[in-house]
């Protein structure tokens, strides 16, 4: 058998049509990072895009934010949920769009992957809330993007991907193990490269790269541990399908560093289920 172990970086470079973020999102990221920009500046860019506008209003009015009154203007939404939340929302929906409809054949599988990502995102948010973490929005996006490398494999490396899928069932191994065995690298590494290519914040890059071994995420080990735990919770709750038939082991370091009482698991999961149902209705 011919064996070639390509360098993941080369793979990423080779994929010329690897999705890039839409200009509106780049513009918005720029504005969010610029301390001089106002809610009005941001609103102008968003209102140029009807779909983004509709999504934004739908989200702020969903129970995800739990705001009692109805928000009907983009400026109102921005003032209410903040610049970072806006950027994250737009990042979220754009990433979904980027990967949608590209490959009909994998569509069902892909939808399940997204459900898994969404479950993990909701989990990261709920765990973050429980721990009173200060950037819940970022945790949500991190959860959403943690397995982005798998989507890249599915769409751009179909041959390797089908070998991986076959190996998982045949040898009863985890996806990560199968990937390392077949490709010599895994979805966390691919995801990291893509996140870097997109110029995502270092925190997101580190979480994506180390969601299986949170302590390697350095100063973002806490956030990586949250996403790691959320990943396990959402699998346990049957939210989508992340490629594994069984649940991967819980990282000792992650669990100990989060200091979550076992008695709290139940209420975290309950909140996760409620929020998952709610948010799915606006994204899909």
């Amino acid at each position: 058998m011919k064996k070639r172990i390509p360098d993941p970086k080369k793979i990423i470079d080779r994929i010329d049509d690897l999705p890039t973020l839409p200009r509106t999102v780049l513009k918005i990221t720029e504005l969010v990072n610029d301390p001089k920009s106002s809610a009005k500046d941001l609103a102008r860019v968003i209102t140029d895009d009807q779909i983004l506008t509709a999504r934004l209003l739908k989200l702020v009015n969903s129970s995800f934010y739990g705001i009692p009154q109805r928000i009907s203007t983009v400026t109102g939404a921005i003032v209410l949920i903040g610049f970072d939340a806006i950027r994250n929302l737009l990042l979220t929906t754009s990433v979904f769009d980027l990967f949608a409809d590209r490959n009909r054949k994998n569509q069902q599988k892909q939808e399940k992957f997204w459900d898994h990502s969404l479950g993990c995102a909701v989990g990261a948010k709920v765990i973050g809330n429980y721990l009173r973490h200060d950037s819940i929005e970022e945790l949500f996006v991190a959860g959403l993007l943690h397995d982005i490398g798998k989507i890249v494999e599915m769409m751009f490396q179909p041959v390797e991907f089908s070998k991986i899928v076959a190996a998982i069932s045949r040898e009863n191994i985890l996806m990560l193990t199968a990937e390392n065995k077949i490709m010599g690298y895994n979805h966390a590494e691919i995801g990291k490269l893509l996140a870097e290519k997109w110029n995502l914040p270092a925190k997101l890059v580190q979480i994506i790269a180390h969601h299986h071994q949170p302590k390697d995420a350095g100063s973002f080990a806490m956030e990586a541990a949250i996403v790691h735990l959320a990943d396990i919770f959402c699998r346990a709750l049957n939210m989508g399908f992340g490629g594994d038939n069984t649940i991967p082991p819980l990282d000792r370091f992650a669990w100990q560093s989060l200091k979550i009482q076992t008695s709290a698991i139940e209420s975290i999961m309950e909140t996760m289920q409620d929020e998952y149902g709610d948010i799915r209705s606006f994204i899909s």
Binding site: Q108, F233, A236, T246, I247, P249, L250, M269, E270
Partner: protein
């Protein structure tokens, strides 16, 4: 293998045979675990009969209720998923909590169903 009607189809059941619409287009492959969304889609396609994995616990003779069967199915499936990690006491807690949540989800579906359609009678 059990044959079930759409009104008795529950999330978590595993398809024993592939589901096709009237035009013969594949909707869902055999071996797939059903979700709420799938059921919605089946309804919209007007597919009514399904073959799911499992044994018939003869509801005709007043054996286990479909609800109890569903609970067993959910529990079995969750156990299989956790099979490699049950030596970790924290994972055992996660398993218990997840099991409780998933069970809670079942009766809710039951109620929705009862509101929308008459319950199937078992003789």
């Amino acid at each position: 293998m059990i044959r079930v009607n759409i009104v008795d189809l529950k999330p978590g059941m595993v398809l024993a045979r592939a589901v096709q619409n009237q035009q013969g287009v594949l909707l869902l492959d055999a071996g797939t675990k059903i979700t709420k969304k799938n059921i919605r889609i089946f309804k919209s396609w007007g597919v009514n009969e399904f073959s799911v994995k499992g044994e018939l616990n003869s509801p005709k003779t007043g054996g286990e209720t479909p609800e109890a069967e569903m609970r067993d199915a959910v529990e079995m499936e969750l156990k299989a998923k956790f099979s490699d990690v049950m030596n970790d006491p924290v994972m055992v807690e996660i398993f218990k909590a997840a099991s409780k949540q998933l069970m809670k989800d079942l009766p809710k579906i039951e109620n929705e169903k009862e509101n929308s359609r008459p319950k199937k009678n078992y003789r």
